[in-house]
Subunit: 228 residues, 2 copies
């Protein structure tokens, strides 16, 4: 469902070029749960941005459902990000001026859902991640892990076919992390959602199908979880 | 070295009061390595803010070296935060307009160090946390874990007697996290630094002396690590 071919991503110019990705190759199958591991600074988040159509590779190609992401016009790209991919950012990126409720229902409204349905569905999602009781708080009023859970709920807003989760449990205690893990596994098994998860959290790896190792901007190893 | 007595912290007013802390009691000994654990939203970061003099309790008292923090005037408080306590925030709080180098040397300059010494010491700290090669990048150019390491280096800028670390390894891969763990242990053993660490990262707990459990704004249990 996702194919990355020789993806290179450079930042900066002239003498100051940083090569975040140096030719990443990856094939992700529909309904698979893939974990991406690698040292800090190795390129995980950058790879996610490329896969999620949130940036253009310096070179190389990314295909989602066999469609070359670089060929999409801005409408098609927006549709892709709104409907097909649910993105859990490493730094949450929830809007500070909106409440938890508003943050999660916004994508639904963009997708054309009517406000009443959106509100109801949002409430269900907030319950699912255990923060329904803080629905009307803004991010600054929420703890780190509570903000992270708002970000997770928002990623699920439009029932995406693909979830890109960047360290989704980094700020969660073990118990809450377990709940999120079970939720992700359930999404994969019951809804055939493809989950791509960058993490160093072993319990998230426990439930994946394959693990991809990325070091210094390149995919160095791909193995089946059973073999680890 | 730190004493918290019946610390209550409420946010909001009228009907909308959130009780982040409901009477936290804690005694932390000099040179001790204490881990604070608890569910997401249980009050860890709030407790840190109270201990670190970054907010005023709604009621209750905090003593640092037997000095009632509430009695300090703004100069004394600033001195405390600048010189005595090194704070690693859960959300890093590194200044986006400054480079890594500038972020880490700023507290040194505030403390009166001359710029050349500050630059040199900063470089040593950045090396220690493994990001000297990114010294001149701004936060947006750094990965999540790289930003976290800048925050850690900054906390060490003025050789604090107390380090308040709020999820210091949340975004770090296992190897880098190990290095940070070893560094903290070394600080405690060689420099007798008092370390108070909120975390759900087991390896950070491995090296602590005592574990404090906080649930729903109250300290529920304190145990020696050996007993766990
Ligand atoms: N806008 C940018 N400008 C310059 N360099 C960048 C930029 N964004 C990322 N980088 C660099 O690209 C490299 C890869 O970053 P990336 O965020 O993908 O790493 P990561 O694997 O997600 O790290 P972490 O585990 O710490 O989150 C890093 O060295 C980072 O400093
Ligand atoms: N400014 C604020 N206004 C209202 N409520 C707040 C505010 N800051 C914190 N809270 C609430 O106080 C409680 C404790 O928050 P705190 O950040 O201390 O939890 P925590 O233990 O650090 O959580 P986490 O592990 O998720 O980081 C939470 O329920 C939070 O929503
Ligand atoms: Mg990252
Ligand atoms: Mg916290």
């Amino acid at each position: 469902v996702v194919r990355a071919i020789d993806v290179v991503k450079e930042y900066g110019t002239g003498d100051n070029v940083t090569q975040a990705l140096k030719g990443a190759n990856l094939n992700i199958f529909r309904g698979e749960y893939m974990c991406i591991m690698g040292p800090s600074g190795s390129g995980k988040s950058t790879l996610f941005n490329m896969i999620g159509g949130l940036g253009t590779p310096t070179s190389g190609m990314v295909f989602i459902d066999e469609v070359d992401v670089a060929q999409l016009d801005s409408y098609e790209l927006a549709w892709l990000r709104c409907r097909k991919i649910g993105y859990i950012f490493q730094s949450y990126n929830i809007l500070p001026v909106l409440t938890a409720m508003e943050n999660v229902s916004l994508p639904m409204l963009f997708a054309g859902m009517n406000p009443d349905d959106a509100r109801e569905k949002t409430y269900e999602l907030l319950k699912r991640v255990g923060i329904a009781h803080r629905a009307f708080n803004r991010p600054y009023q929420l703890s780190g892990g509570q903000q992270q859970r708002v970000a997770i709920a928002r990623a699920l807003a439009n029932d995406p076919a693909i979830i890109l989760a960047d360290e989704p449990t980094a700020n969660l205690d073990l118990k809450t992390g377990e709940e999120i893990k079970d939720m992700m596994k359930q999404l994969q098994e019951e809804d055939n959602v493809t989950i791509i998860c960058a993490t160093h959290d072993m319990k998230m790896i426990d439930i994946c199908n394959r693990v991809v190792w990325i070091v210094d901007g390149q995919v160095t190893k791909i193995e089946n979880r059973e073999d680890i």
